[in-house]
Symmetry: C2
Subunit: 352 residues, 2 copies
């Protein structure tokens, strides 16, 4: 286990991506979003993704020289054609585009078309909430989750994030996927030989299983609710903007289609609608948060707000460094060696 300073990890990630063919400003933006997730303890969306990103840069599935462009524009709705840019780059552009529309029109919506892995959506919604706006983000991807009642994956574990501004303590950031279990957790259970919770995943024939080795994909959260939500996210983010992902993937019988994601970023300037003043909205946010935290616990542990655990972890890791597991550190060391980049940790002898 290595413990790395967040800034050193950002610079290392950016250097790897730059050496892998990504233009330097984009490399820095991707590194920032990956380390944002690592700070919060969401390793599945952190630097562990770098080997995959480097592979996509080699195959061209991620465009190292992307020039995203605005393809459609109305006062409160724009479409960003991402040119296969890294998800973090397109999503940050979407945040920047949605913000002035929200200030002028009350709401700003950006449909991001043809991007790649968008990562932790909370990074973008919390950026909006940090400026006083309400942020919502959705992302659509390829089929990696069972559709309710079907014996094969049909939808993605499409995520949804909502963030609300809060004075003092930073935004309240909610982030969920539509599966009963995260894909990363399924892989982790497989690697470690853990048993899965009942109803969280199914085997190749679509039968629920608790054996991580037999499990091929997550089952949807709450059956038809999770798969219905995931289907609607693809319909809204992909089909309605003419950028479908799932239908061609499901009908293709040979090579898997190239990796693509679509997303929707919404910003709302809601506080100014409060009858008294924006302060009234903030006071009511605080009152609700306090009331929830004051509910009697059913477990003996404190009642938690969305994102509260990750936020506290982020403060700790910013101060004390980010622990990197042996598997991730090993993969990154290999990638660094092949690209001629020094690793930001000193090699340690293995203790037997």
């Amino acid at each position: 286990m290595h413990v790395i300073d967040a800034q050193a990890l950002r610079e290392f990630a950016a250097a790897l991506l730059g050496a892998g063919g990504l233009q330097p400003d984009h490399a820095a933006e991707v590194a920032q979003v990956l380390v944002w997730a690592d700070l919060r303890g969401v390793e599945s969306h952190g630097v562990s993704r770098l080997p995959l990103y480097l592979r996509w840069l080699r195959t061209g599935e991620m465009n190292g020289a992307a020039r995203p462009r605005v393809a459609f524009s109305l006062p409160a709705l724009q479409v960003l054609d991402a040119d296969a840019a890294p998800g973090a780059v397109s999503m940050k552009m979407a945040v920047a585009m949605a913000t002035p529309m929200a200030r002028d029109c009350g709401v700003g919506v950006v449909m991001v078309r043809g991007t790649t892995h968008t990562g932790a959506l909370g990074a973008y919604t919390s950026a909006l909430a940090g400026t006083g706006l309400v942020g919502i983000a959705l992302a659509a991807s390829g089929p990696n989750m069972f559709y309710h009642g079907a014996a094969a994956p049909g939808v993605s574990t499409a995520p949804l994030s909502i963030a609300v501004p809060r004075h003092g303590d930073g935004p309240i950031v909610f982030d969920m996927a539509s599966g009963a279990i995260a894909f990363g957790r399924l892989q982790e259970a497989r690697a470690q030989g853990h048993t899965l919770a009942a109803g969280s995943a199914a085997d190749a024939s679509g039968r629920p299983t608790t054996d991580a080795h037999d499990a091929v994909a997550p089952l949807p959260l709450g059956g038809p609710k999770g798969s219905g939500l995931a289907l609607m996210i693809e319909l809204v983010c992909s089909a309605m903007t003419g950028a479908q992902i799932l239908a061609p993937a499901l009908s293709s019988t040979d090579t898997p289609p190239r990796h693509r994601q679509n997303a929707m970023v919404l910003a709302f300037d809601l506080a100014r609608t409060a009858p008294q003043s924006p302060d009234q909205a903030q006071a009511q946010v605080s009152a609700l948060v306090d009331a929830i935290k004051s509910l009697p616990s059913s477990t003996g542990s404190p009642v938690l707000l969305p994102g509260e655990r990750g936020g506290a972890e982020s403060v700790r890791r910013a101060a004390h460094g980010i622990p990197l597991g042996a598997r991730t550190a090993g993969m990154l060391a290999d990638a660094a060696a092949s690209l001629g980049i020094p690793v930001p940790w000193s090699p340690r002898p293995l203790h037997s």
Copy 2:
């Protein structure tokens, strides 16, 4: 069991509401939305709610002479102060207000403040989708669901609906609440002595129970996901617009606060963003729907789209009438007798 023609049931519902003090145009709108739910087989959101609505009209919690007004306006965001109008009235106004904003700005958002029971959100999102727009609706209400990790109800079973237009077969309408089980189903299980599914509800001390008699409220869908979503819906629809519901309800120790709901209605004119033409978006919606319907079934039954069962039921019930259970029919007959309104069915002798 009585089977009533949909139009006769609408007229009966409107007559009851009118006699109960609701202005005639509003009575007709509420009746239409209640029967929309009954047609789809969602009895919990249908005319079974009329006794409650009539009680609210008597207490003033629902305003029979409401004059909703636009309290805030930007090009793509408006606030409708509902003046305690019936939810159906305010939500239909919100649909009408959101539509031209979506045509002009690409998106139109209406925050509905201080309304009452909004009913089946799919009625409003499908109305938007019927005109070619994507519709989304959220609603916030009082605490009737456990917050994850808490031993007391802290949030509502806040619903979310998304509808997408589709050529020919009518919109695809998704409608979910954030609880593991609907409140109405919990009451039904109690009335019929059924056992609850594990993890769907908890008793007065917050412990999960499968005994419907011990269960006081639903547990959230997927633990922190369902309660987090419900909390964010209250933050967005209520706190951010200065119209909080949950915080005062949770801090009040004596009388339950008067019934109020807040909601958000979003309309998006997305099809015009498709690179080729709006027809491209429609073709991609159809392609995805076909691909999902063609997935191999894991149950032997057809794979269903969101809202597909309710849509088919609606066609059947429009042709053959709406069955009313004995309990609902009895309550409505009592209400009709006290208001001097004839019931639209002939009394039948009870068979012993």
